[in-house]
């Protein structure tokens, strides 16, 4: 708390100073309104959108940005960030282990750790928080999600290897005074959200948000004695403050406190115990998190447009628990600051330049092994946005980051050309660098009996990503539609390889150079097939391969080469009825070798292709909305996601072999209540 107060005091200093400055030169401030000023600072938050009507939009930004609005999020009820991509083809959500229900987002076929996941442009869900981090952001707090394919802007850090996802939370100054959401499913999973927004005066506004997610039922249907879903108790409080003086000064501060208890394992395990013994296998994890983040920006009064943005975050994460007889305790303190100076040079150039600093201290203890480290990464960056004419934009960026092992130079280029009013072509190329977190990003290693063998010290992972994209909007028979083509490739220079295949009794972990590539192609079509029905279909092809010494070219495991998502969305003319139908066809995935009890191994199996259907019907009343829906309507489950589940302390217990849904059909009902401002 003390630190927060210090930061708050610190923030007030530039504010007071600037207020004095702003009054001097009104005319230059009026030239650029606040929103535009802040947009130029926070490139990802591009509010300029071309396809306003649809739930998913392609932004006009030179970075290929797909924006999922809260309208799209409400099409599928749920619940938290991990469940927010049901209707989206770009991002795949997959399980990371078959016990604890940890999920990850995948972009361009690459694991979630290669996506730079940002919350209001700051890396909040990162490091230790990544494993269950998708659970920590309730869906109803999210205003929009921007997905950038490719390396994006250098301003936001070096970590984006395949792309970045940025969450914008609800805006305190635009929210209704009271919002309540209650959700319950057939297994009595209960979720509640209460958001209270208040405008203190014309400048200050605040949002207070409470969220709780409680699921206490032991569900075991596939006969392996292990719970199909973890039991969860999550309490989450968020308070966001926004200051905007209307003269180009804006400041935001968000504080989140979270406590989560997770329990998974064998049904007969006594979950009141604080440790496990060999009689039964259980997993418990208690996490406490404190997040503080914000941004402060202002326009410098001068003849040319100039602004300064300051972004900061502080995250404290502490978890303790056990997986079977292995204790797993960890804590992490990370701070990020970024200072951005933006100015226009002439009529065609806009420069962003600045410095960033990341400080991260991690302590991890798994059984008897310690894995402590601290990492400080200092970075500088410069980026030029060049608009030679109304049709093209070129963004050239360069940053240098001092990682513990060496300094990385990170160049990136993004180009957008408007072929005509409705057709945009984009191309991008750039480098990304990140430090891996072995255990936090790979819970399967923590839970499995399979040994992990670290063959060398892990180096930062780096990759070159390049690609192109074409979007075209059209009007056919007086109805709007859009078509979108994407092609992206990522070549890893260095990658942390988890080798599942060489030895089925252990995970071999090592650095691998120039041996891994990911290629992806995606085509997406959207059209209003009826006046009230919007149809979307997307096809994605993914080819992620690694060259190995022993076998040669090998596809990465657990990645579907082909995926189709199609959805129909109905909205009645009076907007009282809404219905959504989403069909997901997931192609087969390569599975690694499994070591079985009889000491035979089954190499290179393929998982079957499967499909899931999600449905939701919403009825809107004046201030209330009632929704009812079903996830995984066809009740498709991977029944054998646990290997060696009959002997969880034996050498064959392996939770890594997960390729499909763990839990089956889920029918839910919920209600949203919105108290709008009463207009006179």
């Amino acid at each position: 708390m003390k630190k927060n107060i210090i930061i708050c005091v610190f923030l007030c200093l530039p504010f007071i100073k600037i207020n004095a400055q702003t009054s001097k030169d009104q005319s230059s401030i009026n030239k650029a309104d606040t929103s535009a000023g802040i947009n130029s600072i926070h490139l990802l938050k591009s509010a300029e959108v071309t396809f306003e009507k649809a739930g998913t939009m392609i932004s006009i930004s030179p970075f290929k940005t797909e924006i999922i609005s809260n309208k799209e999020l409400r099409k599928a009820a749920c619940c938290n960030l991990g469940e927010s991509f049901e209707t989206n083809a770009t991002v795949d959500v997959t399980y990371k282990d078959a016990v604890s229900g940890s999920k990850e987002l995948q972009l361009l076929g690459l694991s979630g750790s290669y996506i730079q996941l940002l919350t209001e442009n700051m890396p909040i869900i990162a490091g230790l928080g990544l494993t269950y981090g998708l659970n920590t952001v309730p869906g109803s707090q999210i205003e929009s999600i921007s997905i950038v394919k490719g390396p994006g802007s250098v301003v936001f850090g070096p970590e984006s290897l395949s792309g970045s996802i940025n969450l914008e939370l609800k805006n305190p100054s635009k929210e209704v005074p009271l919002f309540i959401n209650y959700y319950m499913d057939e297994n009595f999973r209960n979720e509640i959200n209460i958001d209270v927004a208040k405008k203190i005066n014309t400048k200050w506004s605040t949002l207070f948000s409470f969220h709780s997610d409680i699921f206490n039922k032991k569900v075991e249907e596939n006969g392996d004695d292990f719970l199909d879903m973890p039991m969860i108790q999550n309490f989450n409080i968020l308070n966001k403050w926004k200051y905007e003086n209307g003269k180009g000064f804006i400041s935001q501060h968000t504080l989140r406190l979270m406590n989560e208890k997770r329990m998974a394992g064998q049904k007969q395990f006594d979950y009141s115990k604080s440790e496990a013994d060999l009689s039964s296998w259980g997993q418990k994890l208690n996490t406490n998190r404190l997040e503080y983040y914000g941004k402060t920006g202002f326009i410098i009064p001068s003849a040319t447009f100039q602004s300064i943005g300051f972004q900061y975050s502080l995250v404290s994460h502490a978890q303790n628990g056990f997986a079977g007889i292995k204790a797993y305790d960890a804590s992490q303190l990370s701070a990020n600051v970024r200072l951005i100076y933006n100015r226009e040079i002439g009529a065609h150039h806009s420069i962003n330049t600045g410095v960033s600093l990341k400080i991260e201290n991690t302590k991890e203890q798994l059984a008897l092994a310690n894995y402590d480290r601290s990492e400080n990464v200092m970075g500088i960056f410069i980026e030029d946005t060049y608009k030679p004419d109304a049709r093209s934009t070129l963004v050239l960026g360069l940053r240098a980051d001092r990682f513990p092992n060496k300094t990385y130079l990170i160049p990136r280029a993004n180009y957008k050309f408007s072929i005509n009013e409705n057709t945009d072509l984009r191309a991008s190329i750039g480098v990304g660098v990140r430090s891996p977190h072995l255990l936090a990003e790979n819970p399967a290693i923590v839970f499995s009996s399979r040994k992990y063998i670290l063959k060398s010290n892990l180096l930062p992972e780096s990759a070159l990503n390049f690609g192109a994209n074409l979007t075209h909007e059209f009007l056919w028979n007086y109805r709007k539609g859009a078509i979108n083509f994407d092609w992206y490739q990522t070549n890893f220079k260095n990658r942390m390889r988890i080798d599942y295949d060489t030895d089925p009794k252990s995970f071999l972990i090592y650095n691998q150079s120039n041996a891994s590539t990911s290629k992806t192609f995606q085509v997406e079509l959207m059209y209003k097939i009826l006046k009230t029905v919007e149809w979307k279909i997307a096809y994605k092809y993914l080819d992620v391969i690694t060259f190995t010494d022993s076998i040669g070219k090998l596809s990465d495991p657990f990645i579907a080469k082909n995926r189709i998502v199609t959805s129909l969305y109905y909205e009645s003319f009076n907007r009282k009825w809404k219905a959504n139908f989403t069909l997901n066809l997931v192609g087969s995935k390569r599975l690694p070798a499994i070591h079985l009890h009889d000491s035979t191994s089954k190499p290179f199996l393929q998982s079957p292709a499967y499909q899931t259907i999600n449905l939701q019907l919403t009825r809107t009343f004046k201030q209330t909305e009632v929704y009812i829906g079903a996830e995984n309507m066809l009740d498709f489950k991977q029944l054998t996601h646990l290997t060696g589940s009959d002997d969880p302390y034996g050498p064959y217990f392996d939770v890594s072999n997960i390729w499909g849904p763990m839990d089956g059909r889920r029918i839910y009902i919920g209600v949203r209540f919105k108290l709008s401002e009463i207009k006179k």
């Binding site: 009007l475 028979n477 007086y478 109805r479 006046k531 003319f573 009076n574 907007r575 004046k622 709008s676 207009k679």
Partner: protein, 196 residues
């Protein structure tokens, strides 16, 4: 005055009507005073044309002519030759391109010779919110049988509506907008002006 003169001529010829005098109404795409001058200006001196009056508000050309000297088809070709689409003839694109800026009318639909849909640009004042009013009006109009396209822009206070005049009239559409009541119970007074 012009109108009176035309009526006079029409009456005169009606009385002296013989088999050769024909009164026709031809669909012509045009949008301003300048268009009227050019269309009428090219037709009136033409041999065989007894009178010509272009009315842009209904998109029609009222013409009397001697059918032994000139035909309806030839008149349509003449109009198309100076850049205006007609019921049966389409003006060449390069001629349309060279029209004065004010005469850049919305062109006839490409497919089919018959003009099926009409586009109306409206100015709507009195809207107080983007979601409740503008979007509500847009969907209310879009819901109507015969309306192909409806878009209401709250900031610009403008609406673009494409409809089939044989199924719904512009008056009906305007009436629906004026009578629209938003969900939140607000009572707004909407005023609608048809823009050229």
């Amino acid at each position: 005055m012009k109108k009176l003169r035309n009526i006079f001529w029409m009456l005169l010829f009606a009385f002296s009507a013989n088999a050769q005098t024909v009164n026709d109404t031809i669909v012509v795409y045009a949008n301003c005073e300048h268009c009227i001058e050019r269309i009428e200006g090219v037709l009136k001196p033409t041999a065989g044309i007894l009178s010509a009056r272009m009315d842009v508000s209904v998109g029609k050309l009222f013409v009397s002519y001697n059918s032994q000297t000139i035909s309806n088809d030839q008149i349509q070709k003449m109009v198309a030759n100076i850049g205006h689409d007609t019921k049966n003839y389409r003006a060449a694109d390069n001629i349309y391109k060279d029209l004065p800026a004010c005469c850049k009318y919305e062109r006839a639909p490409l497919l089919g010779k018959q003009v099926k849909y009409q586009t109306a640009n409206l100015l709507i004042t009195g809207m107080t919110c983007a979601e409740g009013c503008a979007k509500g009006i847009e969907l209310k109009i879009y819901q109507q049988n015969g309306v192909k396209f409806s878009e209401v822009n709250y900031e610009k206070q403008k609406a673009k509506i494409v409809f089939d005049p044989s199924k719904i009239s512009l008056q009906k559409i305007i009436q629906l907008i004026v009578d629209f009541k938003p969900e939140n119970g607000e009572i707004n007074k909407y005023e609608v002006t048809v823009l050229p």
